[in-house]
């Protein structure tokens, strides 16, 4: 220690003026430079142990969070975070420590005076002599940015609402005249009125899409994933286009490897993605065909929509996913897009943790493709709980989880085999999902159990729901004569009455 001190003292002088001469001073100078950079950067930097103990912070950190050096001993990174982010953070920290891969983090911290500041940045692992010893978090104070985003969001939401009311009056007024409710209308006048109607519908769509984009950007869109056969979903979407495809004398082809590809997705959002993509293709395709293709891989499902249309030039392609980018437009009237469709698709795909890309050859056609990663039921369930729980902590709500398990599962499995038992559990999951009444409620299967997540539900109500679902299951087991005799048992875990942390909840669930 003494030695270090001795070295350091002269360097301070050197750093402020004279050139260093010895190697040891070089090292010290470097150290000093690093320290300067550490303190001068506007990023907030904290170095800490995974238990939350703070090892070092930089000047920006101290200034923004209003703590000084003496306070640090009594603080942990966890109690500096807003409660709803603690759980998520702990998970991130543990994951970074485990594999060393830096991870992004978004959340809010609380200053000494109790102010909330929004932060965004990266958590990385630090090594000492090749062994992981600490974590670093480097982040930006994005409070002001978030504030403006919120204002923008509120503004768009209010404006959209205010725009829809007069639009309703315009549309309905014109529509009544067009329908000759006020007396006969000449054909030429009808043509004109139809044009007004079409355009007010277009304006309505633009308003809706602007809202969609702003909600997606503000992170206000939540997925309700359920196990779905994506082939059925696409067949349904394709069916909606039959009439227009016929009218335009085009072909709409589908290419699926099999009739069933089950994947955890938000059905409505996937419908929206495919509807948008096919609508886009229709807009730019005069002859030939539109093909919807699915490919099932082990970890993901590949989806694409391609057409034999006009295509997009190289320059335009680069900004295809940007908001309000419209291209390959023809002069004159016609069905124009809003320039938001692809931007919305991209964000919806990303919400599913997927990636979207676009390829095009001018005059040959365009292909938009994206991958949807498969979720295992356990990942899905854990993520759903984390999401629901953080909302509960934030809004002070309740969360109930019902666990249904098949009694004597192992014995039945021995008798019937793994496949058949898996099939039975899948059927039960579908049955229960079908019997749930609210969109936010979801049933997810594990190997031998089905868990039902009921946000905003008190313990008493959860028991009522459980009773109802058990009846549905029982009826099903009696009705399906082919099934072996089996019994299903239900139990309930509630936040905050019985378990408060994610670990406690998962422990309780898997202990059942």
């Amino acid at each position: 220690m003494k030695k270090r001190l001795r070295k350091r003292t002269p360097t301070r002088k050197k750093a402020s003026g004279r050139l260093p001469s010895a190697l040891s001073s070089d090292v010290s100078l470097l150290e000093q430079k690093c320290k300067n950079l550490f303190d001068l950067t506007s990023d907030l930097i904290q170095i800490f142990k995974v238990d939350g103990t703070i090892i070092e912070v930089n000047a920006s950190w101290r200034i923004t969070l209003e703590y000084d050096e003496r306070d640090l001993a009594n603080l942990t990174v966890y109690n500096l975070l807003l409660p709803k982010y603690r759980m998520e953070c702990e998970e991130i920290f543990l994951a970074v420590l485990r594999d060393g891969r830096p991870r992004k983090f978004q959340g809010s911290m609380i200053t000494k005076s109790g102010q909330e500041i929004a932060v965004e940045g990266t958590v990385s692992r630090l090594l000492c002599e090749d062994r992981p010893c600490a974590l670093s978090a480097i982040f930006d104070d994005v409070t002001r940015h978030k504030h403006y985003e919120k204002l923008k969001d509120e503004f768009i939401s209010t404006v959209s609402h205010e725009l829809r009311t007069p639009l309703t009056v315009i549309r309905e007024g014109v529509s009544q005249v067009r329908d000759e409710l006020m007396g006969p209308v000449a054909e030429s006048q009808k043509t004109m009125l139809d044009m007004v109607l079409q355009n007010s519908d277009r304006l309505g769509r633009i308003i809706e899409e602007i809202l969609d984009v702003s909600r997606l950007e503000a992170g206000r869109v939540r997925l309700h994933r359920k196990l779905c056969n994506i082939v059925d979903v696409i067949k349904e979407v394709v069916g909606n286009f039959k009439a227009i495809i016929k009218r335009k004398d085009l072909e709409l082809l589908t290419d699926f490897p099999s009739d069933t590809i089950e994947i955890y997705i938000d059905r409505d959002k996937i419908v929206q993605i495919f509807t948008n993509l096919i609508t886009n293709s229709l807009r730019f395709t005069e002859k030939g065909r539109i093909t919807v293709r699915l490919r099932s891989q082990e970890d993901f499902v590949e989806c694409s929509v391609s057409d034999t249309g006009r295509g997009i030039s190289k320059e335009d392609l680069a900004k295809a996913f940007n908001k309000f980018s419209q291209f390959a437009r023809e002069i004159g009237p016609g069905d124009r897009g809003t320039g938001l469709g692809l931007a919305i698709c991209k964000r919806l795909v990303e919400l599913h943790h997927g990636r979207a890309k676009i390829e095009s050859v001018p005059l040959k056609g365009t292909t938009v493709s994206f991958v949807l990663p498969r979720y295992t039921h356990r990942e899905l369930f854990k993520n759903s709980i984390v999401g629901a729980l953080s909302r509960c902590v934030e809004e002070g709500g309740h969360l109930s989880i019902i666990i249904f398990d098949v009694l004597d599962f192992e014995m039945l499995e021995k008798r019937l085999g793994f496949r058949q038992m898996e099939n039975i559990v899948v059927q039960l999951e579908k049955l229960i999902n079908g019997a749930l009444r609210r969109v936010a409620d979801v049933a997810i299967k594990d190997t031998k159990a089905i868990m039902v997540l009921l946000p905003d539900t008190h313990k008493d109500n959860a028991h009522v729901v459980m009773g109802r679902l058990l009846q549905v299951v029982e009826d099903y087991l009696i009705r399906e004569k082919k099934l072996p005799k089996m019994e299903v048992h239900g139990s309930v875990v509630c936040y905050p009455e019985e378990a408060v942390t994610l670990e406690e909840i998962l422990d309780r669930i898997y202990a059942q």
């Binding site: 609402h161 829809r164 007024g173 529509s175 009444r437 969109v439």
Partner: protein, 134 residues
């Protein structure tokens, strides 16, 4: 003017429209009247509740945002009151997606119509739910 579909030969069906936009009230009642319905209107929540009690409509079309009380409250009060709880209520809203249909359905509404609406949707849903008496 033709008046066939809605009411038919029997007693005319009575629809209460509650909306604070007088232009929308005018448009909607005009459309409904032409299709053979009797229409009563209210410009506020209070007025709406009063008319629901007085006139005993067969169906209520209820705006989601009202100046004196919000649509959810009006709906709850209609459903709590013995004399109005049987009337099917369709929510009528300009807040696409912000409004959770399921929340209203839980509270007792039968459906939701978003503004701007298409007349076919309005008439179709009204017709459908006039058959229902909960």
């Amino acid at each position: 003017m033709h008046s066939e579909k809605g009411g038919g030969e029997q007693k005319m069906k009575k629809i209460l429209v509650i909306d604070d936009e007088s232009n929308i009230l005018l448009m909607v009642s005009q459309r409904l009247k032409i299709h053979g319905y009797e229409v009563i209107t209210a410009l506020s929540g209070d007025q709406g509740l009063e008319r629901a009690l007085q006139d005993n409509p067969d169906l209520v079309l209820l705006d989601h945002v009202m100046p004196d009380m919000d649509g959810a409250e009006i709906l709850e009060r209609l459903k709590r009151e013995r004399r109005t709880c049987h009337i099917p209520v369709i929510m009528f809203t300009a807040n696409i997606k912000e409004v959770k249909v399921e929340d209203y359905i839980e509270k007792g509404a039968v459906d939701c119509i978003y503004k701007p609406f298409h007349p076919e949707e309005l008439l179709g849903k009204i017709k459908k739910f006039l058959g229902i008496k909960a």
